[in-house]
């Protein structure tokens, strides 16, 4: 289980996270919704080790992650799909997948996992020789997810996978998230698309200006009046 305790993070003089507590139980889909600038991305970046925390703790199966270098966090099985996909545009699709397995040395297993990713995203297999920059936005998102899966993560953290994608493509992405989860990968999902995220998630958290303000199951929050008003676009009477 990934456990975050009283986490404080400052970012260029701004207190981005002010005492966040959050739990990601194994095998679940946990989502974190919130407006722009609430600190969602900062949280993921802190877990990955890209950003240093001021205080608090992040543990995975009881092991402290704070202070560990980025590659060690990844080695422990926590991978991130960065916001905006960030595929390596001038590498081929296959190279992008291979670089996802950068820390692994088991060649035969890597080969198997490439086939596994291809089975999740047949489109990537069709286009494996193409430069990643020539893919459509949705395909790039598939590639970014596939690339992260190549490290064989136990926890997959996704930063706004629906960003800038057509609704139909977004649905496809969320289906894939469920499929990946059913195959045993724990998912921590950050979204502005609260509707889709809450429908998909087992557990949901709401982050507002650096603090968790609400938590519950996805269905509970979906029915919550204040959430509806703030995030789901229901008009005030």
């Amino acid at each position: 289980m990934l456990k975050i305790n009283d986490l404080h993070v400052s970012y260029g003089g701004i207190r981005a996270l002010r005492g966040v507590d959050l739990e990601v139980p194994d095998g679940k889909i946990v989502t974190l919704i919130g407006a722009n600038g609430a600190g969602k991305s900062t949280l993921l970046r802190t877990i990955s080790g890209l950003v240093k925390a001021d205080s608090g703790s992040i543990t995975y199966d009881g092991v402290e992650l704070l202070g560990k270098p980025i590659n060690k966090v990844l080695e422990m099985g926590i991978a991130q799909v960065p916001e905006g996909r960030r595929v390596f545009a001038d590498m081929t699709v296959l190279e992008n997948l291979k670089i996802g397995a950068y820390l692994r040395k088991d060649k035969a297993e890597i080969e198997k996992d490439i086939q596994w990713v291809y089975s999740l995203f047949p489109r990537l297999e069709e286009r494996h020789w193409q430069l990643a920059g020539t893919l459509s936005g949705g395909e790039q998102q598939m590639l970014a997810v596939g690339r992260a899966l190549m490290s064989r993560p136990k926890v997959l953290m996704m930063d706004e996978p629906s960003l800038g994608l057509a609704p139909l493509v977004v649905q496809g992405i969320f289906e894939i998230i469920r499929t990946i989860n059913e195959q045993g990968v724990t998912v921590l999902l950050i979204e502005q698309n609260a509707n889709m995220a809450l429908k998909t998630a087992d557990i949901a958290y709401v982050l507002e200006t650096g603090s968790i303000t609400k938590t519950g199951t996805g269905a509970e929050l979906l029915a919550d009046e204040s959430i509806k008003e703030a995030y789901l676009g229901k008009k005030k009477k």
């Binding site: 990955s48 890209l50 270098p69 980025i70 590659n71 990844l74 080695e75 991978a79 991130q80 960065p82 960030r86 390596f88 545009a89 001038d90 590498m91 190279e95 291979k98 670089i99 996802g100 950068y102 820390l103 430069l131 990643a132 920059g133 020539t134 893919l135 459509s136 690339r147 490290s151």
Partner: protein, 308 residues
């Protein structure tokens, strides 16, 4: 026939000089590709390689001195990066550049202090300094070997970058520091590897270059360094094939301009020498200005991938 016969020596020496520039230019272009930094100290590292060779060859046989020289040069390149650039990883790019200029002067002045500013005679390396005859003209063997050696080294480097894990990591880091880190790539190791490769090639280049010159002085790195830099810009900074082609073009043009008087006199175009050779350096820098004005990205400037 006369034209060919009279141009050939300059062409051959130009190709050779181009090869030497290419080996230095790769160091500039690779470091730029990854750090977006013009490593002004690179030409001085090249000079230090020459000086180290002078001192080592006086103390030990060449078959030990040459590998040791390469090793020490590589260690210097590695150390410069760790001491002067790594602490500035998150600083504005201008700070790193100023640091590079500082390193350049530091090295030059240390060299001045150690050598007393005197010309240090470069050792004659047997075999490669020997005279050979090619197409009826006499030259040193190093002139003939240089372009081939350069092409072999560049081919090896391109293979390394395109087909190995470290090469893949280099390409990833040069595009996106953060995402590369998320893949588990240790960017500091990759950057160090880049400096090691760059200085290794510069060390080889210095051996080929100084063999044809009487000696090494603390400012010896300046001109070849600058020209290699121009070659890298001309070819499109960040691109390895670009730097190599740029270096060969500059080397050949420069050498032919140096010989232009003789070539024209021999062929009866002009009756007496007019002193074109003075302009050989000016040509290189005029080329730099022209490239920057008309095609700032150079011959093979960074390509952007378009969606299909």
């Amino acid at each position: 026939m006369d034209l060919l016969q009279s141009t050939l020596p300059y062409l051959i020496s130009g190709i050779s000089v181009g090869g030497q520039y290419a080996l230095i230019a790769i160091g500039y272009t690779m470091v730029y590709g990854i750090l977006r930094l013009i490593n002004f100290a690179h030409g001085d590292v090249f000079m230090v390689a020459g000086l180290v060779m002078v001192y080592l060859s006086a103390a030990m046989p060449l078959y030990i001195a040459i590998p040791l020289m390469i090793l020490l040069t590589v260690a210097l390149g590695f150390t410069i990066e760790r001491v002067a650039y790594k602490p500035l990883r998150n600083a504005p790019r201008m700070s790193v550049m100023i640091s590079a200029i500082g390193v350049s002067y530091l090295i030059q002045n240390l060299a001045l202090y150690i050598t007393g500013g005197l010309n240090k005679n470069y050792p004659a390396i047997p075999w490669i300094s020997d005279k050979v005859t090619i197409f009826g003209m006499e030259t040193t063997r190093v002139t003939v070997i240089t372009p081939f050696l350069t092409v072999i080294l560049v081919a090896a480097l391109v293979l390394l970058i395109n087909h190995t894990k470290i090469g893949m990591a280099m390409r990833a880091v040069s595009r996106d520091f953060e995402t590369a880190q998320l893949m588990g790539i240790k960017i500091n190791s990759v950057i160090s590897a880049t400096f090691i490769i760059g200085t290794f090639l510069a060390a080889i280049g210095s051996m080929l270059y100084f063999t044809n010159y009487p000696g090494v002085v603390p400012t010896s790195g300046g001109m070849p360094g600058l020209k290699a830099f121009v070659a890298a810009v001309f070819g499109g900074i960040g691109s390895i094939p670009g730097a190599v082609i740029g270096a060969f073009i500059i080397g050949i043009c420069e050498s032919i301009i140096k010989g232009l008087d003789t070539i024209l006199v021999v062929n009866g175009v002009i009756t007496e020498q007019v002193g074109f050779s003075t302009f050989s350096d000016a040509f290189t820098f005029a080329l730099l200005i022209i490239v920057l004005v008309f095609k700032p990205t150079g011959l093979f400037g960074e390509k952007t991938t378009d969606k299909v």
